[in-house]
């Protein structure tokens, strides 16, 4: 492949090497034995030519246009430097202002008077407040709105998870955590049938604590909701007998009495999805084998799957299906 000789107008040392390479490629067809000698001669002569040119250039004065160029460049760089300096100053005063704002928030002291009460300082104060609010929103985002406080002078955290159902606050659960060497749960009052350990292992809590808190809150709220539903069934529906339930509130077996015939229907509600408060399976058992398949009871079955049990029972009573 023949390449164009490099432009001689760019007077750089790189040029020498390029010429050497070009010469070498040009002399490829020549006799191998004599190639070295011939190419070397060619390159050396070029080298000496360049050396002479370089020596003469040193004594020549700079071209005027070039000088103008460089002067303009210098000015541009100086303006840029001044701009950056001004930005740094603003940033510094903003940080100072922000630091005093943060201190104000925690100590609730009297607001310090700014030295100059000019528009400039007003603007700065607004900007500082803006960054403060942005950081606050970001922090809220990170912790997902859970109630977290620092403990042991910043060495620990205590997270409070609330549960609620039907607009009523129920139990509060707490997690106490160590921050060093890694984030680790040190104490909790989560009931043993909530799989806290496996949720912690499956989560990414070192980088995003919400990967632990959100599923945990889901489990706890669903458990509290089911527990509340079971409690309401016992309180509001004395005619329905609770045959079996368990600590996790994932199973409820009720005994219904059908009016008129006075037959007993055993109803099993299984809540296998522990993050939900509605059953995953409803099963009826009755001496009258045909009853569970009747359209009325099929409707009751889907009602129990879709409505919280204590409310579903109200409907079933109204429809006259149970006593």
């Amino acid at each position: 492949m023949v390449t164009q000789p490099p432009p001689k107008s760019k007077k750089k040392p790189q040029l020498v090497l390029n010429i050497f390479i070009w010469e070498a490629t040009q002399n490829k067809e020549k006799d191998l034995r004599s190639m070295d000698g011939a190419s070397t001669k060619g390159v050396l002569s070029h080298l000496s030519l360049l050396e002479v040119q370089a020596r003469s250039r040193k004594t020549q004065p700079q071209q005027p246009s070039r000088v103008k160029e460089l002067k303009a460049k210098a000015e541009a760089l100086m303006t840029q430097r001044d701009q950056l300096k001004a930005e740094i100053e603003t940033h510094k005063s903003l940080q100072k202002l922000r630091a005093s704002m943060d201190k104000q928030r925690t100590h609730e002291e009297e607001e310090e008077e700014m030295a100059e009460d000019s528009d400039n300082s007003q603007l700065l104060r607004l900007m500082a407040r803006h960054t403060q609010l942005k950081d606050l929103l970001h922090a809220h985002d990170i912790i997902g709105g859970y109630n977290i406080i620092k403990t042991r002078k910043g060495k620990g955290l205590c997270i409070s998870l609330t549960t609620a159902y039907n607009g009523v606050y129920l139990e509060n659960y707490n997690l106490e955590m160590d921050l060093k060497p890694t984030l680790r749960i040190s104490r909790d009052n989560i009931p043993p049938f909530i799989p806290l350990k496996s949720l912690a292992e499956q989560s990414n809590m070192q980088t995003d604590i919400r990967t632990l808190l959100d599923p945990l809150s889901q489990h706890l709220n669903a458990f509290a909701a089911r527990k509340q539903q079971f409690k309401l069934v016992k309180e509001l529906h004395k005619s329905v007998q609770v045959m079996e339930s368990n600590a996790l509130c994932s199973l409820l077996v009720l005994m219904f009495t059908v009016p008129r015939e006075k037959t007993a229907v055993l109803c099993s509600l299984e809540y296998t999805d522990h993050t939900r408060c509605l059953p995953t399976r409803v099963h009826f058992e009755c001496e009258d084998k045909g009853l569970p398949d009747s359209p009325q009871w099929k409707k009751n079955g889907s009602l129990l799957m879709e409505t919280p049990v204590h409310k579903a029972l109200i409907t079933m009573k109204k429809m006259g299906d149970i006593v």
Partner: protein
């Protein structure tokens, strides 16, 4: 009714206090209204026993009915004897969906496979706990109803509470429990006490625990006589801090009643004034036992009154935190789960 059944009933009658007799018999439901009326509860226990024996003969009751009565009495009065806690480990995938009938059948069949002559009675209590009564026999003799083992377990929790179990019976029970509850192993939870309700509440975290909050509610303080206004004023903040630390470590309100905590030390002797002991290579074996009618209450008071320094040492706060009252302490780092690191002191 044969002799052994009679003796069982007599023994049971000696156990049940007279004031509880009426309600227990009522719950039992094996006596007719008139029969119950005919029993004069002002008579002596011996007389009542004779009367009850006669009624049971009349109703042709057998051993299984008497054991029913015993179970009812024990379930209502579980805080007697010594209860030991065990923990089931490594649940199988279907451990969470084990339901009562399945557990009952599985337990009975597994236990019967392991030991031929055994009498098992399982009952579900209203608080979702499953009670199991086991009377053990062996290849040659019938089940001995005089020394039954009682087991309490809540499905979907890993805890099992046992009383009156011999070391020979332990592996059999363990095997049956592990298989029927769908776990892979069972271990000693190192917690024991006279009150079942206390050790159960401790492990199931069913007592009031105090956590640090932004707006702490004022804690209940002992009514101490104000000795000196100045001391009160000076000590107000440190006293409040000690109280908070004590309540966070042990809990608030009524604490589960533990009777003892045992620390088995296997650490090197450390006292520079006693060269002979410190020079020994082997660890100095020593057992430290704390005993009280309500151990946790006492320890909490030690911390809040300043006798024990706050923050409370992990040696003491581990009792409620880990739900254990038996610890083995070595010099090295954490060993098996029952061990604890000794604090640098």
């Amino acid at each position: 009714m044969d002799e052994s059944t009679k003796r069982l009933l007599q023994r049971l009658m000696r156990r049940i206090p007279t004031q509880m007799l009426r309600t227990t018999l009522d719950k039992w439901g094996r006596l007719t209204g008139e029969q119950l009326q005919s029993m004069d509860f002002t008579q002596s226990k011996w007389a009542l026993t004779e009367k009850l024996l006669a009624i049971c003969e009349e109703n042709e009751l057998a051993v299984k009915h008497i054991t029913e009565l015993e179970m009812i009495y024990i379930i209502d009065n579980p805080n007697q004897g010594m209860w030991y806690a065990f923990q089931l480990m490594d649940p199988e995938d279907d451990a969470h969906s084990v339901e009562l009938t399945q557990f009952k059948e599985q337990f009975k069949s597994h236990l019967r496979e392991l030991i031929r002559h055994v009498s098992v009675k399982i009952k579900k209590h209203t608080d979702e706990a499953v009670w199991i009564r086991i009377a053990w026999g062996d290849t040659f003799s019938r089940p001995n109803h005089m020394k039954p083992t009682y087991v309490v377990h809540s499905l979907q929790t890993p805890y099992v509470f046992v009383t009156s179990l011999t070391s020979k019976q332990k592996p059999l029970l363990s095997q049956a429990l592990v298989l029927s509850a769908r776990y892979q192993a069972i271990k000693d939870a190192n917690l024991s006490g006279r009150k079942l309700t206390a050790i159960r509440d401790l492990l199931m975290r069913q007592y009031h625990q105090v956590f640090p909050t932004r707006y702490p509610t004022p804690l209940a303080e002992n009514n101490q006589t104000v000795s000196n206004q100045h001391i009160e004023r000076e000590q107000a903040v440190p006293a409040a801090n000690r109280l908070q630390a004590a309540y966070e470590a042990f809990g608030g309100g009524m604490l589960p009643q533990l009777q003892s905590a045992v620390y088995k030390l296997e650490t090197k002797f450390r006292d520079h004034s006693n060269k002979t002991m410190t020079e020994r290579e082997e660890p100095f074996r020593c057992v430290v036992k704390f005993a009280s009618t309500n151990l946790l209450e006492s320890l909490r008071h030690c911390a809040s009154s300043g006798i024990a320094s706050t923050p409370v040492t992990p040696l003491l706060s581990s009792i409620p935190l880990k739900g254990k009252n038996y610890f083995v302490i070595t010099d090295n780092g954490p060993g098996p789960s029952s061990q604890m690191r000794q604090p640098q002191n």
